[in-house]
């Protein structure tokens, strides 16, 4: 699974720390999700998508082999 969090953050002009606070996780977690080292739970994915005001499929994208 890949994601557009970095791009969406740039559009909204917020830092990893800001996003982390908005969805109440640690900054490390946002960082590992962005670099595809951690797959968030459905709840967290929905929360992140809600921050960006987009459906979850536009933020998180399934890859070949998932």
């Amino acid at each position: 699974m890949t994601n557009n969090i970095r791009v969406e953050r740039a559009i909204k002009n917020i830092t990893q720390a800001d996003l982390a606070e908005l969805v109440s996780v640690s900054r490390q977690t946002i960082n590992t999700i962005e670099s595809n080292r951690y797959v968030p739970s459905t709840v967290l994915a929905l929360k992140i998508a809600r921050v960006f005001g987009k459906p979850v499929e536009e933020v998180f994208i399934l890859e070949e082999g998932d």
């Binding site: 109440s24 996780v25 640690s26 900054r27 490390q28 977690t29 960082n31 590992t32 951690y38 968030p40 739970s41 967290l44």
Partner: protein, 140 residues
Amino acid sequence: MKTRFLFPYYFKFIGLALIVFVHFPLMHILQLMHIHFDDNDTSLFNHHHIFFILTYVMIVIGLLMVAFSKEKIEDEHISQLRLDSLQWALYLNYLILIISLVFTTGMDMIDILRLNLWVPLVFFIIRFRWVLYRLNRSLN
């Protein structure tokens, strides 16, 4: 995030204090006093038993508090890392336990089993702290 079965954050420091300021000094004091235990006394709470409680049980309680207290910011990723570390620690522990039990007999075996009361917690704490340290380092 809602977490189950975890102590509050400050328990980590209580646990550490219990080990450093209660367990270690007690061990030294008992050693310095040259107490001779009566080996024929097998009643509950005899000297041997009290010594066992003060040393092994005290360290287990302290380590449990350190190992299973919440992090400052608790989230699902931390929970996952905690469970991973727990699995890793148990695997390592049983590997070492099996190897050491195969190569020991008699009283040594009992010592190994006693050590096993708290060694898995030490493995867990080291591994979990190491993973968190690496996570923090990757941020910079």
